[in-house]
């Protein structure tokens, strides 16, 4: 072999570290069908579970007859709330401090609620068993409208809470009231409104939608009656939390509970909570002493697992005549369904909704969120967003548009006038968030230039002047700020566990490495990007770094992956663990080179003696030494664990622009252009960022243009299959144009902020902004989502614009 002298640049390139668009490690197995999802798991002697669900939305269970089901050969058991009662498992705590029925206890509260489970030798027999279970109901009046739920004479939904005048988040003033939560300064906001010359207000409904991951929820629970331990393979975004909850509910010590999240086919918040199906499968396995598999179908997934949003919002802005915003007031009625099962940090029943002052320097603000019960499925998860940030961004971005329209100021200009200026960071918002960094003006200008915004406005003016134009043209603009990376444990916990995350790195003797994390990838490409962080930090090629997550028996405890927290929290844990290793490696290298640590320089993959390029030790050399002959006084081995408790959230931001052309005959909206500029701080793998942005924009498009969960007056969910529920394919999906600026987070060890949810959060109000803009010339200030052809056509008709 010829001795090729590699430059530091060559060596750096060979690491494929931070900043490299490294191909995804995960894809080889996924595109060849070699993934290992929960439903791929088969165990010897495994039984199958299926669920009897309520056909009605509200009713009393008068009788359940299992006889016919039990008579079917191959049916092993039928369990109802009565059977779970002795175990005290017929109800379970929710993440939001409420309780939820595991199996309906005397009453059903929503259509498709779990009433009984059937365990059988195969999936087919289980389904036959479900059909054979006879349940008799007495129907009760149904409450679908959350405003009606608060009427004095509204039916009592939660009889189990009778007499409880306080819930987990304060007093309850009505039998269907869950909590009222406030943030900001009410009197300061009121004073700003009293003094302001301009006031605008807008009511808007952010519809109930469902994250609808490609893989539905399910588990395989396997209790070993001899050893007394429980292994559960589960579709969970937070396996460690599941282990804690399972241990608390079952009484099995946490050391005997193993939770494994194998490959996960998308989560988007839908796989954070604990579902009755999981609990029943685990109980069934314990009772029967055999593995039990439960995997729900699509209809069950959409109708009974966690929904998102369903916020009825009233926003108000106070401003000067020239558009400077002085005050913000927000009132929300939040439809939580039958049980409060929102997945938020404990102290925040409305999540981080109080990020709703957005990218703007607003003097005074106040918001109030009231949660109510209705006869709908429970949930309230963050669908590809940090806790309720989507709702908050939608609210403020819509309000700023409304104000711009009222004052006849361009949408871009009014934003410019109100942005928090670069030099104001770190900036404390009127709700108390401390924004870490941002440069909104630069990003906005870049976006406007990219699409030649003035030319678009000119084209729109020409179209508006032509009464025969077959299309209406709308331009949407959004400048959002997100709050992600939950979160600092002084503010954020889930069931009392602080929202830190963790990493354990072990360097092997020959210089390759394994890292284990408390997070779990569901498509984000952790196995690829995490290795890149270690590669750059430790000078080991990312190719030889194995990343493992999801098995609670091997991975360090972490809170999981949702809320764009993996890079902000776990990514920081990786850097910190790597730095611990780096510090030890430096000691070993100094010993090997017989110099003091202070005489060493780190260069890409090696410690060099300052001033002498020929004397160096690579990280691989050091690894060998650490196992072979560590310096006296140092432990052998080269590994570290770090639990990272973030000092603050991170605040990614972006500027999105969208042009739609609306067919005046059919109401169809065609997205002509969509430009997304994202600033997520340091970019670890630009290709993966781009992929995440494409995915988030596509889901944003789905939400804005088609996703909906309408209920009829009887509480039937209309449209719970993929025939109606809109999942765009490549055919419907617009072409995305992406761009970026880089404003690193000053408090994150890598400067990274997190990105996967920004495109979802940012794009949804952009589509609405564009559709509404198409009608702005006839005085329309807002149209509720989804902007389906049908609904847009109704707006065309109402304003005399339909052809």
């Amino acid at each position: 072999m010829s001795a090729v002298i590699q430059t530091p640049e060559d060596r750096e390139a060979s690491l494929a570290g931070i900043g490299v668009s490294r191909l995804r490690k995960e894809d080889a197995r996924f595109i060849q069908g070699k993934g290992n999802y929960v439903d791929d798991i088969k165990m010897p002697g495994m039984l199958h579970m299926d669920i009897v669900r309520s056909p009605i939305a509200h009713g009393r269970i008068k009788r359940i007859n299992k006889e016919a089901a039990l008579a079917i050969p191959g049916v092993r058991a039928v369990l109802t709330a009565e059977d779970l009662k002795p175990l005290k498992l017929h109800w379970m705590p929710t993440l939001a401090g409420d309780v939820a029925a595991v199996l309906a206890d005397e009453k059903v509260h929503f259509q498709m609620q779990e009433v009984a489970v059937v365990i059988a030798d195969d999936r087919y027999i289980a389904a036959d068993g479900v059909e054979a279970v006879e349940v008799e109901y007495e129907e009760l009046p149904v409450v679908i409208d959350p405003y009606a739920a608060l009427a004095a004479d509204a039916p009592v939904l939660r009889e189990d809470l009778a007499g409880k005048t306080a819930g987990a988040h304060g007093p309850r003033d009505h039998h269907n009231h869950i909590f009222t939560w406030e943030a900001g300064d009410r009197s300061a906001a009121d004073a700003a409104f009293a003094a302001a010359p301009i006031k605008v207000e807008q009511h808007m409904h952010y519809p109930r939608v469902h994250p609808c991951p490609l893989e539905t929820c399910g588990c395989v629970a396997s209790f070993d009656p001899i050893r007394g331990d429980l292994t559960t393979y589960i579709t969970s975004q937070a396996p460690h939390v599941v282990r804690t909850v399972v241990s608390m509910l079952s009484g099995i010590p946490e050391s005997k509970v193993r939770i494994v999240s194998p490959d996960i086919g998308g989560g988007f918040g839908n796989k954070v909570g604990i579902y009755p199906g999981y609990v029943c499968a685990i109980v069934s396995s314990i009772v029967l002493g055999r593995p039990v598999k439960w995997v729900e179908d699509r209809i069950e997934n959409i109708s009974s697992t966690a929904f998102a949003r369903d916020y009825h919002m009233d926003g108000e802005l106070a401003a000067t005549e020239d558009g400077k915003i002085l005050g913000l007031r927000v009132n929300v009625l939040a439809d939580h369904g039958a049980f409060d099962a929102c997945a938020d940090p404990t102290k925040f029943p409305a999540g981080l909704f109080h990020i709703c002052s957005g990218s703007y320097d607003i003097g005074a603000a106040h918001c109030s969120v009231k949660g109510v019960y209705t006869n709908k499925a429970p949930g309230g998860v963050a669908y590809r967003c940090s806790f309720r940030v989507t709702e908050a961004v939608y609210l403020i971005e819509r309000m700023v548009d409304v104000l711009a329209q009222r004052l006849n100021i361009d949408k871009a200009e009014i934003r410019r006038r109100n942005f928090i200026r670069k030099e104001q960071f770190p900036y404390t918002s009127p709700f108390g968030f401390e924004y870490d960094s941002g440069d909104y003006h630069t990003a906005l200008q870049k976006a406007l230039d990219a699409l030649d915004y003035p030319a678009l406005r000119a084209e729109q003016a020409a179209k508006r002047a032509d009464p025969n134009s077959p299309t209406l043209m709308g331009i949407g603009l959004v400048s959002f700020t997100e709050v992600v990376g939950a979160g600092p444990s002084k503010m954020c916990d889930i069931l009392g566990v602080g929202m830190f995350d963790s990493c354990e790195i072990r360097i092997h003797p020959t210089g390759s490495a394994i890292a284990r994390m408390g997070t779990i990838t569901q498509g984000q490409g952790h196995q690829t990007t995490y290795a890149q962080i270690i590669a750059t930090e430790l000078g080991i090629p990312s190719e030889v770094i194995q990343v493992e997550e999801g098995d609670t028996s091997t991975a360090p405890y972490g809170l999981g992956t949702y809320g764009s927290r993996s890079t902000p929290v776990a990514g920081a844990a990786i850097a910190m663990a790597a730095r611990k290793i780096h510090a030890k490696a430096r000691k070993i290298a100094a010993h090997m080179l017989e110099v003091s640590e202070a005489d060493l320089d780190w260069e890409v993959d090696r410690f060099k003696v300052r001033g002498d390029d020929s004397r160096f030790k690579t990280m691989a050399d050091v690894a060998w030494q650490s196992y072979h002959q560590p310096p006296a006084g140092l432990e052998p081995g080269l590994e570290a664990v770090h639990y990272y408790d973030p000092p603050n959230f991170t605040y990614p931001f972006g500027i999105y622009l969208c042009v739609v052309d609306i067919d005046r005959a059919t109401g169809e909206s065609k997205v002509r252009r969509f430009y997304a500029l994202d600033d997520c701080g340091t970019r670890i793998n630009p290709m993966i960022i781009e992929g995440q942005i494409h995915g988030g924009l596509t889901e944003g498009f789905a939400v804005a243009m088609g996703q909906q969960m309408p209920f009829d007056a009887q509480g039937n969910l209309l449209g719970n299959t993929l025939m109606d529920y809109f999942l765009p394919t490549a055919v419907e999906t617009p072409k995305w144009e992406t761009d970026y600026t880089v404003t690193p987070s000053p408090h994150h060890p890598l400067g990274a902020k997190g990105v996967a949810e920004s495109p979802h959060v940012g794009s949804i109000p952009t589509f609405t902004s564009a559709v509404v803009d198409a009608f702005a010339h006839v005085g329309v200030t807002h149209l509720d989502m989804p902007h389906t052809s049908f609904r847009v056509w109704q707006a065309l008709r109402d304003h005399g614009l339909a052809l």
């Binding site: 059919t666 809109f726 394919t729 052809s789």
Partner: protein, 287 residues
Amino acid sequence: MIPPKFDYHAPKSVAEAVALLGSLGSEAKLLAGGHSLLPMMKLRFAQPAHLVDLNGIADLRGICLDGDTVVIGAMTVENDLIASDLLRERVPLLGEAARLIADPQVRNRGTIGGDIAHGDPGNDHPALSLVLDAQFVLQGPNGRRTVAANGFFLGTYMTQLEESEVMVAIRVPSFAKGTGWAYEKLKRKTGDWATAGCAVVLRQSGGVVTHIRIGLTNLAQTALRAEEAEQCLLNQPFNEAAVKRAVAAAMAITDPAEDLRGDPEYKRAMAGVMVQRALNNAWARSA
């Protein structure tokens, strides 16, 4: 999403299939592509005790010419309609419209015979067969009979097809020279049934309409042939006023059901838009 138990039969000939239908009675269902039947079975809306699978009968698949009539085997799948040169030459409307049906996977299994026999007003082939003056060849215990598409569709999931009969072929006259055609289908997304659909076939002579068929998809209990709308144009010069009258006449016979695609008002309005577009496109293609 799990169907109840059923028995499966795989006859090798139409005669065998007909015999099975005879012996198994109303408990039996024919299985073609399965893309309408199997979803209903998975939801347990349909619970046949026997499935008689037609996929093993080679005679039922393929497209050929009988004189001037194109004969399409009932088991011919949508993707074969799209790929057929013979159809492109003789009845180009069929392949073109088939592209708007469902999605590529469904089109790979779903058959023209199943699409018609199912009697679903949302399906596209019923209205297409009406405007093509198609004839259906049905084989039962007493042999074969041929019925016209016009009059075949009796109601939702109800047709003239007897329980004991197999649809064998669809016979479609070739387009005369100069025929114009169009299929306009408004849908929410790929793989969706029509919010409103309109098929048109027409011929002209010196600017006057000499032949016209207008068919409507998913706008009533069955596919509709809009005969009064046709009368507004037949033997008339084709112009905006005539089209307007035809559109109004077509809209008048619709009776759409409310669903998440829209309410009756929207669907009726969309019927008008689709009829207008289909007429104009077909006209532009005629000579």
